[in-house]
Amino acid sequence: MLEAMNTIRPRFAPARRLRLLLWLSLAALLTLGGCQRSPLPLRLTNISGHMPDLDFTLTDDSGKAVTGADYRGKVVLLYFGYTHCPDVCPLTLAQLHVVMQRLGAQADGARILFVSVDPARDTPPVLKAYVNAFDKRAIGLTGTPRAVEALSKRYRSAFTREPGGTDDSYAVSHSSAIYVFDRAGHARVLATPSASHDDLVHDLHLLLDDGATP
């Protein structure tokens, strides 16, 4: 590229010169944008730059109003579910607990955010007892149906109350994805409950190391 620049002579036709200038500007932009830091060799689905930053206005399991900004500085694992889900939600949270255990002391730099898609039944106390039964670094979040829906839509996740249930007993279909955000709140990894523990531990190590020493 440098050689090419040295060979530029003013005798070039204006159109050709303009084209060269455009190419050089593009190269400069790419250098600035892409090579600022080398991309992390993540093993799971890399969603860096493809999903919006972590942002929401909800209530945590101690009844406090929280926003996405409250979790900056932590690597966040975001998962949608509900407490009356006896099978897949506990399975996913139990597996995330295993992953957190494997991270050892580093796990303190991470938080599991369990967002209820059933705010009618999942009050902060119910959520607190539920998430604490899995991992002490898990936090239950709930809010108005509108706020929960806004967060779910933000990550193109969906949930539906299944027809046929009674007022007290019903199931909620919901996205099974786990969204992982880095310490700056940027979306980085999309994991499914069937992701291997090794891959999840690997990627979390990278994200926890990244920016641990600013």
Binding site: P90, L91, A94, A133
Partner: protein
């Protein structure tokens, strides 16, 4: 003479036993292992899991369960389609002849609701399993903590079962 009568009686008993074996119910042929419950805090529903081994030559089907401890027990199936997790009530889980079927996290499971008294990890809860032919059998399920990943009697890496995988030890025709 008396001896002959005893011999006749024995033969009759033996024939009776053979006849019973020949028309054995599903409950007679099913063995249950790795049975456990995932206990969630408060009165939240629990998940019930087990491996069913069918030792008979006829396919069997689990249709439900009941318990003195839980007011309601339902057979459910979780599934993931297009990234969405669903849970639905099902009427039966088949257990192939000379094969196994699993009630496992992420697949078929029992949903136990409204405990009549608190169940704690370590407790043993007796469930009565019901089969399609109307037969029933009791099985003891060990209560395990919320973050358990299996029955706790194996050290293998747990796998999410999205559909029941009949793993058979002998020949089995699908």
């Amino acid at each position: 003479m008396k001896l002959l009568r005893v011999a006749r009686l024995c033969t009759a008993l033996l024939l009776g036993a053979v006849a019973t074996i020949a028309s054995a119910s599903s409950a007679d042929e099913i063995r249950v292992s790795h049975a456990w419950l995932r206990i969630l805090p408060g009165a939240l529903p629990a998940g019930g899991y087990a491996t069913l081994h069918n030792q008979g030559d006829q396919p069997a089907a689990l249709t439900g369960a009941s318990s003195d401890v839980y007011a309601q027990v339902m057979l459910h199936q979780s599934s993931v389609a297009g990234g969405t997790n669903r849970m639905r009530m099902v009427h039966a889980m088949s257990v192939p002849a000379r094969g196994n079927a699993q009630l496992a996290p992420g697949g078929y499971h029992l949903m136990l609701e409204q405990p009549r008294h608190p169940v704690r990890p370590g407790d043993v809860v007796r469930l009565t399993l019901t089969f399609a032919d109307g037969s029933t059998r009791a099985a003891d399920f060990v209560a395990r903590p919320a973050n358990a990943i299996d029955a706790g009697d194996t050290h293998s890496e747990p796998a999410i079962v999205t559909k029941p995988q009949p793993t058979d030890h002998t020949q089995h025709v699908d």
